[in-house]
Subunit: 360 residues, 2 copies
């Protein structure tokens, strides 16, 4: 029986373990929180993610290590990779943790990106605003997620003092491109280099947090997304699942960001695809054959933010599948989601509207 | 967060917990074995199934109790039912544990059964052989499973001393009816009396142990099976999932037996149906709305008996989903299964043949 180490112990770890236990796997989570939701599905090493002793125990007690969040400190990851097999690799973390590295990689791989500039001072910002024009989005290069560490600049006045406002840390200014849709692609690459892709998902964020994700079967952007993702996977010699977010501008895609892990916009695959992103991530890191990524039905996923709604009215919807992360309610926190399945796109839209009504 | 008590801690308990954790549930298993595979997914009360103290702890520490095997002693179940909410109820256990009670219930409900006779002595047996004719199957009334406690009588000579041979315990002689197919139906009934049914499955047993189970979408026996199952569910005021095994003889069904629990022939529902039998069992006992039972694809399930085959060649099949029960290998033991999914019945048959070839 293989033992898998996971850095992080949140809901992604929980869902990895739920997919991995039927594969005959055991899990150990490196996670400082006392109430980590994944811990019930395995053992927990209660230590910080960069705790040397914790990392060493994780390496010794498992056959290989993966991570479920992209802010696992690169220094710690680099140390861990000297002790055990770490997948996806350190390079993917290094790229994904810094928006400037990410954008530079996209450019290097000829993947279209919105115009951007590195910002290390208010002076840099003033010059970049002149060059890129407005509106533009100012973001911290590191540790931003769910819309945190961002400011939209619409006027020159918005830019004044914005460098200080975002903490006087390394920033990036990105040209704001009006887009038609936010799309994401879950890609997975095996140890033998085989790549598989799920149908792209169309996403809606509210207050910077993912609200709704709908896989689009046979979307005309599918191939373009796959071409871009394949370049990234191969360039990073990537192993595992990767979430890739795009903006669609008319008939082309602009790369927004990558997450070197299973991804919220792929949760629909648990029941909506032949093989879930969680199982395929595990198959990839274990060197097992990847599973089919085809959709089994029309599906949609709605996140529960802050608190779970009442379960009963949601489960009255015919194709609803409930996912409770066993987390305490807290504003802005992802505490669960529901997947909706239907053989009819129209009935699926009705179910989405019904779930949204129940969340108010 | 609701706490569910489960009597038994085998693979059915493991799969119940894998389905229930996303529903926000916690599990406590009453199970004497030190290596119970379900225990990793919850807590274990290590005690015999009829241990009064263990039962009382289970009742106190959980919100309701269910069971994952039908040989939970009725006396113990009756005691437990005075302490907590037990579902399915004691009556279902009482009927299912004794083949004579089972057959009597079927008769009472006008559900066709093969002719049978109660056997409490060799003399009873001799008379019954004369009345029923041969071939016939002699079975222990209680505690038989996976073909254990059975003897096929083809000649008068086979009957000689057979009462002693099967332990001189209460037996039943059943007329052997040549049948076309073994079919089973997974039925589920909610607390409000709502019944749902999965597509019937066609089953193949080898040496009395289930080998292959294939749901048949739109089978012409579906309605007949549902009619019979509904009568049983309503008669027992049943709550939860129930497995119902039939023999198809030309255009009618003979009832063989019921299992008052989730059932091996319903494992394909984990990935092959909108809602699995495990989730629907939990929804039923919790009084939640039942989920859709429609199939998402053509599916088949192949049991792994004795030991797991090598994982890699099986996962090379495009729609294969692996289920390892984390059990030590042992001849005749169910240690895992694989579900095969396909959008084409023909490709599904090819995949079944490929799995069977890998198991040799």
């Amino acid at each position: 029986m293989k033992k898998i180490g996971v850095v992080g112990g949140g809901q992604l770890g929980q869902m990895l373990a739920l997919a991995g236990i039927p594969l005959g796997l055991e899990f150990i989570f490196l996670e400082p929180s006392a109430d980590a939701c994944a811990a019930r599905l395995g053992r927990q090493i209660a230590a910080e993610y960069d705790d040397i002793e914790g990392l060493e125990r994780l390496a010794v007690e498992t056959d290989l290590v993966t991570f479920e969040f992209e802010n696992f400190p690169v220094q710690a990851a680099r140390h861990l990779a000297t002790l055990t097999d770490l997948a996806p690799g350190v390079r993917a973390l290094d790229v994904a943790q810094d928006r400037l590295n990410e954008k530079a990689l996209f450019r290097e791989l000829d993947i279209p990106v919105a115009d951007f500039a590195a910002i290390d001072s208010q002076d840099d910002l003033d010059k970049a605003v002149t060059r890129l024009g407005l509106p533009a989005v100012l973001k911290t290069r590191r540790l931003g997620y769910d819309g945190k560490g961002q400011k939209v600049l619409r006027t020159r006045a918005d830019a004044e003092g914005a460098f200080e406002e975002l903490g006087a840390v390394p920033l990036i200014l990105e040209s704001f491109v009006p887009f038609n849709r936010e799309l994401s692609l879950i890609a997975v690459r095996g140890r033998d280099g085989e790549c598989r892709f799920y149908p792209v998902a169309e996403n809606i964020h509210i207050n910077g947090i993912l609200h709704l994700s709908r896989p689009r079967l046979h979307d005309f952007m599918q191939e373009q997304a796959q071409t871009h993702a394949r370049r990234v996977l191969e360039s990073l010699d990537y192993v595992g699942a990767l979430g890739f977010e795009f903006f669609q501008v008319d008939d082309y895609l602009l790369a927004n960001e990558i997450a070197p892990r299973v991804h919220n916009t792929g949760h629909w695959t648990i029941e909506g695809a032949v093989t879930s992103q969680f199982e395929n991530h595990l198959r990839a890191v274990l060197g097992l054959p990847l599973g089919a990524t085809a959709a089994l039905a029309h599906a949609a996923m709605v996140n529960f933010i802050g608190e779970m709604p009442a379960i009963e009215p949601v489960l009255h919807l015919p194709g609803a599948r409930w996912h409770d992360y066993h987390k305490d309610p807290r504003p802005g926190r992802k505490v669960g989601h529901v997947t909706l399945l239907s053989d009819s796109p129209r009935r699926l839209e009705q179910q989405i509207a019904q779930v949204e009504a129940l969340m108010r």
